[in-house]
Amino acid sequence: MGKTIYGSDIKQIEQGVVSKKSSPFMRYFKKNYDMYLLLIPTLVFIIIFNIIPMYGITLAFKDYNMFAAETPWKSISASEWVGFKHFKNVFGRSDFKNALANTLIISAYKILFLFPLPIIFAIFLNEVNSIKFQKGLQLIVYLPHFLSWAVVAGIFVALLSSTGVVNMMLAKLGFEKVKFMMDNSVFRKVLVFSEGWKEIGWSSIIYFAAIAGLDQECYEAAHIDGANRFQQIWYITIPGLMPTIILMLILRVGSIMDAGFSQIFAMYNPTVYESADIIGTYVYRMGLGKMDFSMGTAVGLFNSLIGLILVLSSNKLAKKATGKSIW
């Protein structure tokens, strides 16, 4: 039992070398049924907790009245279909275009500037020989991730106000003061910078792990061959990180509609709505989803659809370009 190895097993099936007693499928299944057993707990879990509630997505196309039937669950089917009413209601608003544009722009900025930085940070920290330094710095830079945005916003507001440290320094150096938090041309940069400050360390953890998993022999071999540090980074580290980078990029692009609600909500103010009001903050401020579950679902569905399109297409793109993809 179980003497045959996995890989050649498949080959046998593919080549049609099958014993006469059982069909190829049965044979395959007999060898690999434990792989499917492994899948079962998680599949059961997601069917119960993720897939069954998906039925509720129909709310986006209904006028949900929780008390329409004897239980709110039955009320979902009992509520009236209204087609795209909720979508029109949200997307038809004059300010919505601005919010959508801001969402995409801020997200794009964040991906452009903040996606590469954790990778660069991890690679360069890896180049420091002292393990103590590596460990210590890793611990320090991931600290801000644990402060909530309300707290971080308070700190940035204090630093960047007209009497804050930054403006004092600018004034001393002979520059004009900048209204960081109240200037539409600057505020997005503040958003990108503060998110970078808070999350670079945290985001780099996954790359530390990936680097730690790289084959050490390669480095030794490269060193013996006389490769310098940059060559080692370029020919060993980066290719080794590529699967992780591609996966992270695809997932990050997929969440483009999340431009950072909690951050912006904590940091923005009426004077920068023009440049920083994203869909999430707009919907929240206008109370659109408030007590209107259907409309909230509609907005969520819209975001998910965009995310799905982006994940599928960037996955395809990645496969074409590098041969690697999520599946």
Binding site: S161, M286, K290
Partner: protein, 532 residues
């Protein structure tokens, strides 16, 4: 080997799946529910029986009550008042809290989902109304008639009427605010905040506390001219009620002008108000960072002596004095309350009337009669005092008709207001004032704020009674936010104030303002005779 392992795994999987759903039941309070359910049903049956000599509800064993209340930062069961109430009523209460965030949605979900709370205590009028509209609330009238003697006694006719529908169904019990005088009462104590001034700076400038708009501007100007720093700061609010007073407005959102009910954005003086704020901002008298201020950063600028003025509430005075000391300032806070338009005219103090929040019973309740009985017990005049303030001479004392706390006993009553029913005593407002005199500094500044109350005109306003109208619920929040944000923007941009207000009104009319206005105007016309 393989087989054994897979069997083991299969067992494990089954165990996880079954184990989870089985395990949580043992842990959950749901098991308790079944017990109380039975008890509840039994007592239900009994109450249906023809009334005998003794009401079984009052004499039978008392079930544990499940009460859902609004967000409190503390666990109700950890408060000293919890046991006081338990001993007083004989009921054990399991308290539940709505979250701070998404409370309205959560309440609707809980009730629609069938969770059986016996009492929904201190819900907002909006929340109660949502449930009432969905027919999810019990008619309280039969229960009140039977068990609610103290409750009836403690609530005003107007509030009760507001929560009674055309069919005579009482769907909620009103809680009226403790911290406001009733019409006809002595208004002393109604002022709880104002624009605080740094006394040292005032002396250095040789100025008095400003009483009207010109004096206010004069002090700010003198300070900024002398120091080059902003003179006044506040958090990110567009309407400053203390300054608004100089333009004939104040706390209310609605005003009667020539017999019509008018929102303050359409008030004839709104443009002047905006122009004044713009002037303060442009000249650097108003902190140019105010749109990004939180309540804290604003306070900080006042407490470390950057600005001369900032809106203070009496209860923040101790922390400000601590901060003054830490910053090396030897100053007191002198408060200008509502500003007068000019030296000849007195400002108006508007006193809020209305329903603070409401208590109701969902249809899913298992022990509605017990809940009302419990609520009635805590609404008894003596019981109220005992829960709210404790015993005279023990936790509070009365000096010259004013209530003062006695420490440390009074510490137990910090959150006691959350445990009170309706306020049956006519002197609730005076009793509340014990809270305003917790420290010497608080008592002193509270007294100073109210020292000129006799010079002010007082007017009661009733707009809060309209809070549950559908058109109000639908539009008010978004409109308030829009107006506030646009005002801040206009103050910063310095655009022509008339145009700014016109633009806001245009947006207002476009986004539901007209509907909101119509509802308020009609409501006012129908009800204005009831206001005295």
């Amino acid at each position: 080997m393989k087989r054994v392992l897979s069997i083991l795994l299969a067992i494990m999987i089954i165990f996880t799946v079954v184990g989870c759903s089985g395990g949580e039941k043992a842990d959950s309070p749901q098991t308790d529910t079944t017990v109380t359910e039975k008890e509840g049903k039994e007592s239900d049956d009994k109450s249906d029986e023809p009334e005998g000599e003794e009401d079984p509800i009052l004499s039978d064993e008392k079930p544990e009550l499940k009460i859902l209340t609004y967000y409190t930062g503390f666990n109700m069961e950890e408060q000293p008042s919890y046991e006081v109430v338990e001993e007083m009523t004989g009921y054990k209460v399991k308290w539940f809290n709505l979250p701070q965030e998404n409370a309205d949605e959560k309440l609707l979900l809980e009730i629609a989902g069938g969770t059986s709370y016996d009492l929904l205590m201190r819900m907002s009028t909006n929340q109660t109304n949502q449930l009432y509209v969905q027919n999810a609330l019990v008619d309280l009238k039969p229960y009140l008639d039977k068990y609610g003697e103290n409750i009836y006694e403690g609530i005003s006719d107007m509030s009760l009427e507001a929560l009674t529908d055309e069919d005579g169904m009482i769907y909620a019990i009103p809680h009226e605010p403790f911290d406001e005088p009733q019409p006809g009462d002595n208004p002393y104590g109604v002022l709880k905040g104002g624009i605080g001034f740094n006394s040292t700076y005032l002396e250095e400038l040789g100025k008095d506390i400003p009483k009207n708009l010109d004096e206010f501007y004069d002090v700010l100007k003198a300070y900024t001219d002398k120091t080059g720093k902003p003179a006044f700061t506040q958090s990110a609010v567009g309407w400053n009620n203390h300054i608004l007073a100089a333009f004939g407005m104040g706390d209310p959102s609605w005003y009667e002008i020539d017999g019509e009910y008018v929102h303050r954005i359409k008030h004839p003086k709104a443009v002047e108000y905006l122009a004044f704020m713009q002037k303060l901002y442009k000249e650097g008298l108003l902190d140019n960072d105010f749109p990004v201020n939180t309540a804290e950063t604003a306070k900080e600028k006042f407490a470390n002596g950057t600005v001369i003025a900032y809106p203070v509430m009496f209860w923040s005075i101790d922390s400000i004095y601590n901060a003054f000391e830490a910053a090396g300032l030897d100053a007191k806070v002198k408060v200008a309350t509502y500003l007068a338009p000019d030296a000849e005219t007195d400002p108006v103090v508007y006193i809020r009337q209305g329903i603070l929040n409401t208590t109701c019973i969902p249809k899913t309740a298992e022990n509605p009669e017990h809940a009302i009985n419990w609520f009635n017990t805590i609404s008894d005049k003596d019981n109220f005092e005992k829960i709210y303030l404790g015993e005279e001479g023990d936790s509070y004392e009365i000096k010259d008709g004013s209530y003062y706390p006695i420490f440390p006993a009074f510490d137990d009553f910090t959150n006691s207001d959350k445990f009170t029913g309706v306020a049956p005593a006519s002197n609730v407002f005076q009793m509340w004032q014990a809270r305003a005199r917790k420290t010497d500094a608080m008592a002193e500044i509270y007294d100073q704020m109210n020292s000129r109350i006799d010079e002010y005109k007082t007017e009661y306003y009733y707009e809060n009674y309209a809070a549950s109208l559908e058109a109000v619920q639908k539009n008010k929040m978004a409109l308030d936010t829009m107006v506030n944000d646009s005002l801040i923007q206009a103050i910063v941009d310095g655009v022509d104030p008339q145009k700014a207000i016109d633009d806001i009104i245009e947006e207002w009319d476009k986004t539901g303002g007209l509907e909101y206005e119509e509802a308020m105007k009609n409501w006012y016309k129908e009800n204005k005779d009831k206001f005295n």
